[in-house]
Homo-oligomer: 209 residues x 4
DNA sequence: GATGAATGAGACTTCATTCAT
DNA sequence: TATGAATGAAGTCTCATTCAT
C-alpha cells in the first residue's frame, strides 16, 4: 500500500538471487550463464550488475546470506536448550527443515567446497568453519557436562558429524536424481535423520545408559 | 627398438594422465586449461587428442582408472577378512593409505565428487555408488552375522559412514590449507581415523561390549 | 521567484557544463562516464539529457562556448592594436591568461584537439581553423605593412606559430605531471612566453633590428 | 625456401601491427574494434592474442617499435654530422621522410598525447621525451659551439621546435582531410619544411649572418 | 523538470579443438 | 605420431540512453 517502492526494489534483488540459486543448482556455477540467470529472473542482463558486482558476487551473496541465515536460525534455537544431545538434534533438525523448505539450498550446500580459489580463501570456508564451530561448541559443552566421553577429540568429531550430515544430504539429493534412481532407494530424510541420531547418540555417549 | 615404441606410447598416455590429475587438483577441472596439462606433460596440445577424445575424456579416464583401481584394491583386501568391523577398518585404511600415497587423488575425490551435477550425473556417480555398495555389503553382512544391530538402516548408514569419512578427508585437506590454518589445527590423519573408528564402533554396535 | 526558476535553469546548465569540462580533462572524453559527470554536477544522469542532446553534445557545447569565447575576447583585444608584433603578442598573452585562469580548458585544448579524427573532422576543427585564421590575418597584415618578410609563407607560418604555442602549453601541462617531473623542469609560462617571443620576433623579422 | 617458417611468423605479426596502425588511424583507438583489426589483417580475432597481449598491447607495440625506430634512425644520421643547424635539419628531414613513407604513422603521431592514462604514465611520453631530449642535445651543443645565442633557454626552445614541427604535420594531415580542404590550401611538406628552417634559422641564430 | 533503475547492444577476450606440416 | 598456430563461438561485463514515476 505504501513503501511499495522500497518493497519492489528489495524484491528485485531477491528475485535475482533466487534465480541465481536456481540456475547455479541446475547447471553448476561454471555452466550457468549470466544470461540464463537474467532470463530466469525476468530482467535484463545489465540489471544484475546494478545489484551485484559480478557473477561471482551472486554466488558469494548466496552463501553469505542464505547460509548465514541458517546459522543464525540455529544459534537462536539452541540457545534455548540445555542438553547437548538436544542441541545436536536441533542443529540437524534445523538444517533438514531449512533444506526441505528450500531444496535448492541443500544442493548448493553440496556444490563443491573447493571448486575455485574463491571458496577456500573467502566466503564458504568461513561459513563452513562457523558451522563447524557451532558443532564443536556443543561437543565441548557436552564433555564438560559429562554427557560425552572424556577422551572425545572434538576437533575430529565435529568433522565426522559434519561429514555424516553431508552424506545424508547427498543421499537425499541423489535419491531424487533420475540418473541414479535405479541404483538407489526411496529416501526419507526423516528416517535418515533418526538413523543418524541413533548412530551418533550411542557412539558419542560411548557408555550404555 | 620397435617394442620400445609401444612402451613409449603407453608411457606418454600415463604422463598425460598424471599431468591432468595434477593440474585438475591444483586448479579444479574448469579452471584447468588444456594448454596447462600439455605443458605439465611436456607434450604439445594437439598430442593430447591422440590419446584422449577431449578434455572431458581426461577426467573420465582419471576416475575410471585411478579411482577404479583403488576400489579393486580394497575388494582384494577385504575378501580375505571375516570380521565386518575389520573389513570396515580395512576399507578406510586402504583409502587413507592410498590418499597418503597420492594426495592429489584425495583432493580430486574431495573436490570433484561434489563439484556439480555434471559430474554427479555421469561418471563419478558410478564410482561413488560402487564404493557405497562396498560399504553396504559389509554392513549387511554384519547385520546377518549379528555384529551390527538388527534395526540398522544400512542404506542410510552407508551414507553416514561415507560422509564421515569425507569429513575426515576434508579436515585433512583443509588443515594444510594456508587460508584456514589459523582457525583450525594440526591434523593427524591417523589420530582422526582412530576417533572415527571409536565413534562408529560403539555407535554401530549399539550395545556395550 | 519565477524569474528565479529561469536563473536556476541557466545555472544548472552551466554547472553541468563545468562538471563535464572537469571530468573530460581528468579522464579524457572516452574514459569519462556520463554517470561521473552527473555525480560531479550533483544531478541525476537523466537530467543531463534535459540540457544536452547526449554526451557528444556536451563536448560540442564546451568547444563552442568556452573556446569560442576566448577567440571573441582575442578579436576584441587586437582590434585596438596596430602593430602586428603587438597583435601577435596579444594573442598569446590572451591565451596564456585564459589558460592560467582556467587550467582545465588548457588541458582540454591540448588533449582533445589532437585526440582523434572524430574530433578533427567535426567541431574542434572549426574552432582551430578560426584560431589559425586569426593568426594568419595578422601575418598577412604584417607582410603588407612590411613588418614581416615578403617571402613569408603565411599559411605555413601560422601552423608553425600555432604548433610552437601548443608546444609551450604541452610543456606547461607536462611540467606539472607527476609522471614526468623527474625528467623535466620547473616551468614558468611567463619565461617560456618570452623565449617564444624572442625566437619568433627575430625569426619572423629576418633582419637584425 | 628456407627459414620460410620463421619469415611467415614474423610476417603475420607485422601484418597485424600494420592492420592495427591503419585502423587506429582511420577510426582512432577507442573507436577501433578488435574485430576490425583482425578483419583488416585477414586473420581470426583470436589470432591477435597469439601475438599481442590485448588491444592496448597493439598500440603500445606501435608506439614502441615504429616511433622507437625513427628515433634510432635519427640518432644514426646526426651522429655523423657536426653543424648543429645541419643536425636540426636532419632531424626534421628524417621525420618528414619517414612520414612521407608511412603517412599513417604521421597521423598516429598526432593522435593524442594524453588520451588515456596509458600514455602519460607509460610509453608515448617516454618516446616523446626521448625525442625532445634529442633536440635539446643539439641545441645545447649549438650554444656551446657559439652557433646559437647564449641566452637561449634550450628547455623551452625544444618545446617550441617540437610544437612547430607538430604544427607542420597537423597542417599536412589536415590539408588532405576532406572536411577542411575548402578552408585550407594545397600543402607541400617540402615547402613547409623550408619555411620552418628559415624561421628558426634566423630566429635561433639571432645575429644577421 | 528531475530522477535513477532498467535496458541491451556490443566490446574484448578466452580457450578447446582442429589440421597442415 | 607430434606439433602448435589458427580458429571462432561464446561468455562476461560496460555504459549511454530511456522512461515511468
Amino acid at each position: 500500500m505504501f513503501g511499495n517502492s522500497d518493497k519492489k526494489t528489495a524484491d528485485k534483488r531477491t528475485v535475482i538471487l533466487d534465480a541465481a540459486l536456481k540456475t547455479f543448482v541446475k547447471r553448476g556455477y561454471t555452466e550457468t550463464k549470466v544470461a540464463e540467470i537474467a532470463s530466469e529472473a525476468g530482467v535484463a542482463e545489465g540489471t544484475l550488475y546494478n545489484y551485484f558486482q559480478n557473477k561471482e558476487g551472486l554466488l558469494l551473496a548466496l552463501f553469505d546470506e542464505k547460509w548465514g541465515g541458517i546459522i543464525e536460525g540455529i544459534r537462536g534455537k539452541i540457545s534455548r536448550l540445555d542438553d547437548p544431545n538436544k542441541k545436536l538434534k536441533a542443529i540437524f533438525s534445523q538444517v533438514v527443515i531449512m533444506f526441505k523448505k528450500n531444496r535448492q539450498l541443500a544442493e548448493l550446500f553440496m556444490v563443491d567446497v573447493k571448486q575455485s580459489s574463491i571458496f577456500l580463501n573467502n566466503y564458504t570456508i568461513n561459513r563452513i568453519v562457523e558451522f563447524l564451530d557451532l558443532i564443536e561448541e556443543v561437543l565441548v559443552e557436552g564433555k564438560q557436562k559429562g554427557v560425552y566421553r572424556r577422551d572425545l577429540d572434538t576437533r575430529v568429531a565435529k568433522m565426522i558429524i559434519f561429514g555424516a550430515a553431508q552424506g545424508i544430504l547427498l543421499s537425499w539429493v541423489l535419491s531424487e536424481s533420475a540418473a541414479v534412481r535405479n541404483k538407489t532407494f526411496k529416501f526419507s530424510i526423516y528416517q535418515a535423520a533418526k538413523t543418524l541420531k541413533d548412530v551418533f547418540k550411542s557412539g558419542l555417549v560411548g557408555e550404555k545408559k
